[in-house]
Symmetry: C2
Subunit: 410 residues, 2 copies
């Protein structure tokens, strides 16, 4: 009988968001009337209509596929040049950042990418993650066999946890020992924190000195309002020697249901064999894409390309302004309620301290039962998230205003 | 410095189709005039327009996303119920096959699925593949560390190769020893062979007796013309205890550029832990989908659903008839040319013996240089494919007729 991957059995109760979905479902079934006024600020899922530019481009692409003369079947696994070039030009070159189009790999999601990237790394790497953290980084390492079991706090043996607290502004201190891989996400999910240029410079310096690879998740870069805050790890000198960047169309273009994302791997980025021989990482990821992936839907890639048109850019800007306007209201409401509030300034997440003596899940249940608002319990992101909760700014303005009213009377 | 997955270094020269692309590119650059008459019958990529029903459904879905009231963000990772139900009803229930909707997982491609499925299996499994074989099964096992190095013939240590030859009708004999996983693909890529009910019954009997899991790739089931040939492994009694089935919309609906596929895992299917404890496989794959995948584009899932509408079915039937008409012409032309011909009757691939003393790659080069036709060299699918080549029937009728003329005068 076939052996199964027993590492999966080390995974805790279930991925955070399915657990939230289960509790919400139970509440809804038990309280059908109250459920009618439920407002979901839990999962970081966009709510507003897809930009017109993307829709127009996708309609055109669908029609192209309806004519055998313009029909396209399998595309390049790494993505169409039209999209890779648009990204290189707009997200990087236009900002003075050196990223070549063939260093950009188009995928169907950052969740997939941040999980799949482990395929090309070997075992025995020292892996550091922040705490709190996007659970996918942890769970995919567990599934890949890069950890031992979890302890009572939910921390997995073998992972190096970097605490993110109000004291360090949710940007972890540089580790005192070398690690091989470190996941950094700024603007941060879940805390809404950003890393300054000086902080990222320190990380790049550390990474280059120790041969560390920074797995930099910039999925929320579009929400940065402050021009001083770096939008890409590749804005930092030397980062091409030590970083892989993940980006997504989910939150800027509202593509959570459309599915498109990006991995950037500089061609000079190196890892090593067990015998110490250095090897370039780019060809390994390229090979993985060719062998285990067949490219993103042509229709979707045309939609993503349109995000970079003048109309597309204006429409994305309007979407970002909408969500950041929501974030501002939520920050104000929570502050007025006497809660400790972080984030929500350069990120669509507001990270809020629970009232004294209230745990994250207690706060989740309280918000669900009393305010009929779904939030995300901070402890779901790691033990250092205990005592906090996350409110997502992805919603209609009317819903956010109503949430603010309910917070005021809670 | 981070350790890399050295298993990637065991991979041979590059995935077959990129190698073909490189040779074609070199030819095209060296012979710009001859290149104008090049006809591609290499990669199994569809050429005809997407069915109208699928296009109409995708247009509608794009517009739904353009209205915030009908907007959809993240969908269920395992796929929308509307599509899972359509598949269960039409592909299975309507044929008297027991597959529940929640045993169906929607993905963006069978290439991804057949590669990713290894994530949930442990190490130390005995893995059998046919020879010749779809290269992805082999390469993904190499990448996962399930093999040793390749020998001179390209065979990897640790894999059990099951020879498929004209003598056994390209359906391998049942192994004399137990294996844990076996990949079977019928209608077969590359040989175009099908397995009879009796042959599949023997495989299921073997699998149940030995605790083997059959990874059954039915991506080409829509091309089966003979009502006696099984379209699903689950038509065979007992298969729910020993099989996972892969299906795709790539070849029936022409979705190679649109991206949608299916994995079916019966809820009772079991694997085991190292200590012998039995475990259900379905929850592991479900967890993988939740953690490393974010569902297929909503637009694409609506397109796939439309394939099951009355119009969609009629349009798919017309597409299949077109390609199978091509296959018939190719079979006739190769037979007339005195070549040994297989497949092309219940599959869109024609598998042809090279003239005596000519290797597969020599035949590839000859066809490219003299006939200006791109075929796929049989040896690219494994050492037992040496001496054969594959012609894909995915083309326009005019192109196929021209290929037939060129074969006649070769």
């Amino acid at each position: 009988m076939a052996y199964l991957n027993e590492n999966y059995l080390k995974l805790k109760a279930g991925y955070l968001f399915p657990e939230i979905a289960r509790r919400v479902k139970a509440f809804t079934e038990a309280n059908p009337e109250a459920a009618k006024r439920l407002i979901r600020c839990g999962i970081g899922d966009v709510t507003e209509a897809l930009p017109d530019a993307a829709r127009a481009a996708m309609h055109k692409a669908v029609d192209e596929l309806g004519d055998r003369n313009s029909f396209r079947g399998y595309g390049p696994e790494q993505g169409y040049d039209f999209l890779r070039n648009a990204i290189a030009d707009n997200d990087y070159k236009a900002r003075g950042i050196h990223v070549d189009a063939d260093e950009i790999f188009i995928s169907d999601g950052s969740k997939c990418d941040t999980g799949n990237i482990l395929d090309i790394f070997g075992s025995d790497n020292k892996i550091a993650i922040t705490d709190p953290v996007y659970p996918v980084y942890v769970d995919t390492n567990v599934m890949a066999g890069n950890t031992g079991d979890a302890d009572e706090s939910g921390a997995y043996a073998g992972l190096h946890y970097l605490k993110c607290t109000p004291e360090n502004g949710f940007v972890p201190e540089i580790p005192s020992e070398p690690v091989d891989l470190v996941y950094l996400c700024y603007p941060n999910n879940p805390t809404g924190a950003t890393a300054t240029r000086a902080q990222l410079e320190a990380w790049v310096q550390y990474a280059r000195a120790n041969g560390t690879i920074i797995l930099y998740d910039a999925a929320y870069e579009a929400f940065i309002q402050d021009p001083e805050v770096p939008r890409s790890i590749f804005e930092i000198e030397g980062a091409r020697d030590c970083a892989i960047e993940f980006r997504s169309f989910s939150k800027n273009g509202g593509f959570t249901g459309v599915r498109c994302a990006i991995v950037v791997i500089p061609k000079g980025l190196m890892g090593k064999k067990k015998d110490g021989t250095k090897l370039a990482i780019h060809p390994l990821w390229s090979r993985r894409h060719s062998t285990k992936f067949n490219g993103v839907s042509y229709i979707v890639q045309r939609g993503a390309e349109a995000i970079y048109s003048p109309e597309g850019k204006a429409q994305v800007t309007a979407l970002i302004q909408h969500y950041m306007g929501n974030a501002k209201l939520l920050v104000e409401a929570c502050t007025k309620a006497g809660l400790q509030v972080f984030g929500g300034v350069n990120a669509p997440y507001v990270w809020v301290g629970c009232p004294a003596g209230v745990t994250s899940w207690q706060m989740f249940d309280k918000m669900l039962n009393e305010a009929n608002v779904v939030i995300t319990p901070g402890s779901g992101f790691g033990s250092a998230g205990e005592g906090f909760f996350r409110i997502s700014a992805f919603n209609s303005r009317a819903n956010v205003e109503e949430v603010c009213r309910r917070i005021a009377i809670l």
